[in-house]
């Protein structure tokens, strides 16, 4: 068998697809949806980025111009922090609609993120938003199935499979040729979309970039592997099924389980294996521990602290201290609270991540889950990167509180409630600087998904090769 033969099959399959009106319209539709969702995602991401930048600078201005006041009042006043959107978030919005992207940083408490668009959504949105990720994860595989289910079963039904093989075309070459022909047809809609995506990144990246080009390249590879696995699987079923109808029904069953059933089953499975406390339980636990501490974390004692400070400075009365004991006490309370927060929020985040591992394991049965995890990770919109930002914001909050309490401690005296700091202090606190995690960090979190997805590709190719070898000719 010559490569000329393969080329012939590829060309025939390719032109067959292009000539078939149904496929042509399906492809045009999917391609258009992909372009529209990419464009819309990009515009929206730019808009959100601009709004956040404006709000961030307003918040900073409010902070710097808050006038003369006690540093502790300023700490209560607090400041907003915004999670920057990474460059690729326009491809996959991930968990952002459910987490919110901004948080108020203030004294004594670790706040939840606000502005969750899911909150403003009608129930219609729960079915799925029109994002590029949704099109790539659900519709392109469906298109692949429609392009491929008849590839071998159809030839057999029409009796042309026997003729083809009689001309000396090898079975492997036939299957490979079919796969490449379909890939060519898919390329007609994927290449322009990729070009548009790349252009969007170059023209005006919607956000700060942590190696956006490398992330985009890996993202493209992930989706190509996913599509290749679907082509191989569809060919395998087409070779095995008795009729085109059976092939189509089986493949649609696979598609439904992969895209609609498995993700929801994974949700229940992970909740059952790693339950999370209800909002009420969680809030009550934090309140209780904030009020009376735990076995290892003891709430600060103001009198004992004053005693300690007086001994340290060798004075008899609190009023004689060269510092303000209230500031020191506030800082101790802050540190006590931080340990309670770390304990509770840390456990909650850890549970979320364990639930994520369950999802990655269910991907063995449904590759969508692996692709989704990787896609969100590379777009910078998964739970891990949300946590990454949330902890950076929390570290910043703690630093801010330390500065406020430090200023109060050092620049005023005990019993003095009239002390006021000014713009000098507000301006000297640096704004929040956040570095998004690197590509290595993201992929390190997602090794399981990478392995599972790779396994899917290898497995489907092996099965396809086997089925094609054993396919009946009539």
């Amino acid at each position: 068998m010559t490569s000329h033969g393969i080329r012939h099959i590829v060309r025939k399959e390719f032109t067959d697809v292009l000539r078939d009106g149904r496929f042509r319209w399906c492809s045009v539709l999917v391609g258009a949806l992909l372009l529209v969702s990419l464009g819309h995602g990009w515009v929206q991401a730019r808009e959100a980025q601009r709004e956040h930048a404006a709000a961030q600078s307003t918040a900073r201005e409010h902070w710097e111009t808050q006038g003369e006041k006690n540093p502790h009042s300023a700490a209560h006043y607090g400041i907003y922090a915004f999670k920057p959107r990474l460059a690729l978030s326009f491809v996959d919005e991930g968990v952002d609609p459910y987490t919110g992207t901004s948080v108020w940083l203030e004294a004594h408490r670790q706040n939840d993120f606000l502005l969750r668009p899911a909150q403003d959504a009608t129930a219609a949105q729960r079915v799925g938003a029109l994002t590029a990720a949704q099109v790539l994860q659900h519709l392109v595989p469906l298109l692949i199935i429609l392009l491929t289910f008849g590839a071998l079963a159809g030839e057999r039904e029409r009796g042309t499979l026997r003729q083809l093989l009689a001309t000396g075309v090898g079975r492997r070459d036939l299957a490979l040729g079919k796969a490449l022909g379909i890939a060519g047809a898919l390329a007609l809609l994927l290449v322009p979309a990729a070009a548009v995506g790349a252009a969007a990144l170059v023209v005006g990246s919607p956000g700060p970039a942590a190696s956006p080009v490398a992330r985009a390249a890996v993202l493209a590879v992930v989706y190509l592997v996913y599509f290749a696995a679907f082509v191989a699987l569809s060919l395998a079923v087409s070779a095995w099924a008795r009729s085109t109808r059976t092939a189509l029904v089986i493949l649609l069953g696979v598609w439904v389980v992969n895209g609609l059933v498995a993700p929801r089953v994974a949700v229940d499975l992970s909740k059952w294996l790693h339950p999370t406390p209800s909002a009420l339980e969680f809030a009550r636990t934090v309140e209780r521990e904030m009020a009376s501490g735990t076995e290892d974390i003891i709430p600060p004692d103001r009198d004992a602290l004053a005693e300690r400070l007086m001994a340290q400075y060798g004075v008899e009365r609190v009023e004689d201290l060269p510092i303000n004991d209230v500031g020191a006490y506030l800082q101790e309370s802050e540190e006590f609270g931080n340990r309670i927060f770390d304990r509770n929020y840390g456990a909650l985040w850890d549970t979320f991540e364990r639930q994520g591992v369950v999802h990655e394991l269910v991907a063995v049965a449904a590759p969508l889950l692996a692709v989704r995890a990787l896609s969100m990770g590379l777009a910078g919109t998964d739970v891990e990167q949300h946590r990454h930002f949330a902890s950076a914001a929390e570290t910043y909050r703690r630093d801010l509180m330390r500065r406020m309490n430090g200023d109060l401690t050092e620049n005023s005296r005990s019993g003095d409630f009239s002390y006021q700091a000014g713009s000098e202090l507000w301006e000297s606190t640096p704004p929040l600087r956040y570095d998004a995690p690197t590509l290595g960090w993201v992929l390190g979190n997602r090794i399981l998904s990478l392995v599972v997805l790779g396994g899917w590709l290898a497995g489907t190719i092996l099965i396809a090769a086997r089925r094609v070898r054993r396919a009946e000719v009539a």
Binding site: A55, T99, D112, L114, A121, T122, S278, A279, M376
Partner: protein, 458 residues
């Protein structure tokens, strides 16, 4: 007539003996019963969380009263106390969970500024929330059509492809041949729908009256719509494969694409006015008051509560009356932004209700949520109920703050209880538009299908 029933029996037997159909039925029933069981458990969980909210309140109250001397200012103790506001869910919510998975229906309200307390949410993993919920509504609205398509796409074409069509056509009219086949499939689908619905009704304990009857009727009408569509497409002269592709394409368009496109349009047409502003304004309103004279803050307070305008607060000392008036100032500053925000959400909900009538699955889904009171409208009504409760609590406690009463002056038995949002919308009003739309869509789908196949009647 006897022959008709014999055909029906024959078709039913033929259907159930096919391995593919048997596997699909068993799978669907299994998922359906699981979803029903889950729905029942969610109702139990909601009920126990309402109890937990009350227990948490009693615990906290007990703790506070034990840790503060009875002479402490009432304002100081009440600063910490969170009052429960649990909204009991309808039993029908077991069928359609809607937004309740992510939104809290059991807020706890402190006497401080309210705006910031209204948007608390469940501690649910966002990855899980994004995946969607496996409730019975998703199964019966989202997936059931695929089951119907699998059963009916080859209604005629299979006979034709099997070479038997011309033979059987010799003995009977087309309609007489199709009717028993269709009836056999309807029985099968009916079982697959009825069993989980019966299970969920038993577990969650709802009877088929009012809302529940409308919900079941909608599920039935939606099923009918897909039967009509399938019959219309399947009675044409196309091959089984072509029928399957057309029907699955329609399903993708109606179940996945149209809802996504509509919500996109909705979000563009009704942009949420910078929700940030709401929080910023409230915080500004509250914090600015630290720099104002107490009289200025109270002045604003008396605008909303003229009945207390004769109660003044001293300028030189801290009073709880003034402190809570500052909090009120925060809510007041956010009031317009908050109202604008809610207005947009209501517009979004109305718009979705109207336009969803064009998309049968979406109309059915939204209406189920509406009947089960798990939709955005119900969430907004709940927030309004919480607002009213906050107001009642303020009216109850503020006199104590003006009197600088101690905490043991509070009569705890007389603290107002939360009055949940009333579900007064009549089920007819909620259910009728979607039901009418579904009937109309069924007729249109059937007519369009039959018409396209009519010219070449065989």
């Amino acid at each position: 007539m006897k022959a008709w029933f014999r055909l029906l029996r024959l078709d039913t037997l033929r259907l159930t003996r096919s391995t593919g159909v048997a596997v699909a039925v068993v799978l669907f029933l299994a998922i359906g019963i699981y979803a029903a069981w889950r729905g029942g458990r969610n109702i139990e969980a909601a009920a126990s969380s309402a109890v937990a909210a009350e227990t948490a309140y009693q615990d906290q109250l007990e703790y506070l009263l034990a840790s503060y001397p009875p002479t402490t200012d009432a304002g100081e103790v009440l600063y910490y106390l969170a009052f429960p506001a649990p909204q009991p869910s309808l039993r029908l919510a077991a069928l359609a969970r809607g937004r309740t998975e992510v939104e809290s229906a059991s807020l706890r309200i402190r006497l401080l500024a309210l705006e910031g307390q209204l948007y608390e949410h469940e501690t649910v993993n966002p990855t899980l929330a994004a995946a969607g919920d496996l409730d019975l509504a998703f199964l019966l609205i989202g997936l059931l059509p695929l089951f119907i398509i699998a059963l009916t796409h080859d209604l005629v074409s299979s006979e034709r492809e099997g070479g038997t069509w011309n033979l059987v056509r010799l003995f009977a009219r087309r309609r007489r041949l199709l009717a028993p086949k269709l009836a056999a499939r309807a029985i099968l689908v009916g079982v697959v729908v009825a069993v989980p619905v019966a299970v969920v009704a038993a577990l969650a304990g709802f009877r088929l009256d009012g809302r529940a009857a409308w919900a079941v009727a909608l599920v039935a009408l939606h099923t009918l719509f897909w039967f009509a569509l399938c019959l219309g497409v399947a009675s044409g002269r196309r091959s089984s494969t072509a029928n399957a592709m057309i029907l699955v394409g329609t399903w993708v368009a109606l179940t996945l694409l149209a809802p996504a496109a509509l919500s996109l349009a909705n979000a563009i047409l009704h942009p949420v006015p910078e929700a940030l502003e709401l929080t910023v304004r409230q915080r500004q309103g509250y914090h600015e008051a630290w720099d104002l004279s107490k009289a200025e803050t109270m002045e604003v307070f008396y605008e909303d509560y003229p009945e207390w305008s004769d109660r003044t607060v001293p300028e030189d000392v801290f009073t709880w009356a003034w402190y809570y008036a500052m909090n009120h100032r925060g809510d007041q500053a956010a009031r317009d932004a908050s109202r604008a925000y809610r207005d947009v959400l209501r517009e979004r909900e109305d718009w979705a209700r109207t336009w969803s009538l064009l998309v049968p699955p979406l109309a059915a889904q939204l209406t189920l949520d509406r009947l089960a009171a798990t939709d955005l409208g119900a969430q907004l009504a709940y927030q309004d109920a919480v607002r009213r409760h906050h107001e009642r609590l303020k009216n109850h406690f503020y006199p104590l703050f003006f009197d600088t009463a101690p905490i043991d002056a509070v009569e705890w038995d007389r603290v107002p209880d939360f009055e949940p949002a009333a579900r007064e919308e009549s089920p007819v009003r909620a259910g009728f538009p979607a039901a009418a739309a579904l009937v109309l869509a069924s007729i249109l789908a059937l007519a369009a299908g039959l018409r396209s196949s009519a010219p070449r009647a065989d």
